[in-house]
Amino acid sequence: MRRHTVPALPGSQITSESTWLRRRQILKALALAGPALVAGCGRAGDGVAAEAAELPAEALTVTGRSAYSTDETRTSLRDATHYNNYYEFGTGKDDPWRRSDRFKPTPWSVEVAGHAELTGRFALEDLIKPHALEERVYRMRCVEAWSMVIPWVGIPLGDVLKRFRPTSQAKYVAFTTVERPAEMPGLAYPVLRWPYREGLRIDEAMHPLTLLAVGLYGRTLPNQNGAPLRLVVPWKYGFKGIKSIVRIDFTESQPTTSWNLSAGDEYGFYANVNPTVSHPRWSQASERRIAGDGLNLLGNRIATLPFNGYADQVAGLYAGMDLRTHY
């Protein structure tokens, strides 16, 4: 069995507890002053507390601070929830937040099927309850060459999958997004073959970096970000992070994935972030970081790292594979 190493953080990068507590106090104060601030200045700043008040989401209790988290500047909550690709609500970047208010993420259940000892339909609460929610601040690299830094809340996918006791025939895990034309206006257009489907190899799914997210910025997921349950695979392009999951299949052969089906020469099954393999129409060597600093236009572009900077943790999964053919 392959061991995964937790990245060693240099001491200088770890926030001391007292600083962390002080930050919480500042945030709390901001939360209390939030409405007053908004009323006072008309244009709400990037104060997370003030923005969060706009979202129909509840606060989540998060335990622990993950060693997998990055301390890079976070994308503002506003940008992370107002600039999304979620084609079921439309193909524009603002369609997901504009056109997802009819979507009802509760109640929710997930059908688990395929090569596992335990299968059937499970309520979301029952899937989540046995686990402690963790916050993971991950880089998110879109295949369109922009990126964000987002504090997700979730559970390692592997911990959830193990409870179903997958058999030795389970070589892959396939995921399916919900398909509700009445609540998702983008489904009226045959942009992709609905429902949206994604998949991972079982070792990728079991990797401790792979997260089953239920929230971001300490609150439940807004509809536009894939409520109530989505996948986050930080070393792969964002389209692998399938949203609003209703079905999980343990399969023996490689599952069909939506983007690969529609444009196979542009989007592969693996879709690992790789600066040396270009998209046919643009380079993947660098990316524009969306970190809320609209005035510093010249500082937005940064180099893209192999496996989105998670090579130390995941490169071993692909030992011996030609990543040019398995893009």
Binding site: Y83, T91, G92, K93, S283, I290, L295, L297, L298
Partner: protein, 209 residues
Amino acid sequence: MARRLDPIALSKPFVFAACLLPLAWLVWLTAYGDLGPDPVARLEHETGAWALRLLLATLALTPLRRLGAGAGVIRYRRMLGLFAFFYASVHLAVYLIVDLGGFWSQILQEIARKPFVTAGFLAWLLMIPLAVTSTRAMMRRLGGRWQKLHRLIYPLAILAVLHFVWQVKYGETIAVREPLIYAAILAVLLAFRVPDWLRRARRSGAQQQ
């Protein structure tokens, strides 16, 4: 002799100012950090779209005149064409300096290998001789060759529209609408010229016999 009021000459400063409005608006949005989550992409999109709109406006003058708008409309052609070149140059500068600044090796790769970038860059290159020869003195100096040279606007307009259409991601049904609208407008504007081209081709064919 008292000079008659020339409405075209009088309106030119206003047209000039109107052509600067998109730039002023973008400077405003930039200064206030109001360009949205991906500000550089927004700047690229807006400057490119205005270059194309002005290019199409330039091409619309001859058909407009033919449809009875008055011979004077042709006198806006130089200004609109030069503003199209101006916005295309700002567009290119934003892409090269603001967006890809510091990632120089990537620039050459993109221009050489990505068809949509190649098309856009070629369109801009072809605009240079037209801008340089847009003065009255150059018109006189080039004589009949001036018109021939300025027919470059047709292929470069096609390249500019292709540049826009090709950069749309697969499946973006909404995003592809805007470039397709420009493509349709260009097709109509070019269709207006087809009878002329046919007549000219027939005439030069007759001369050769």
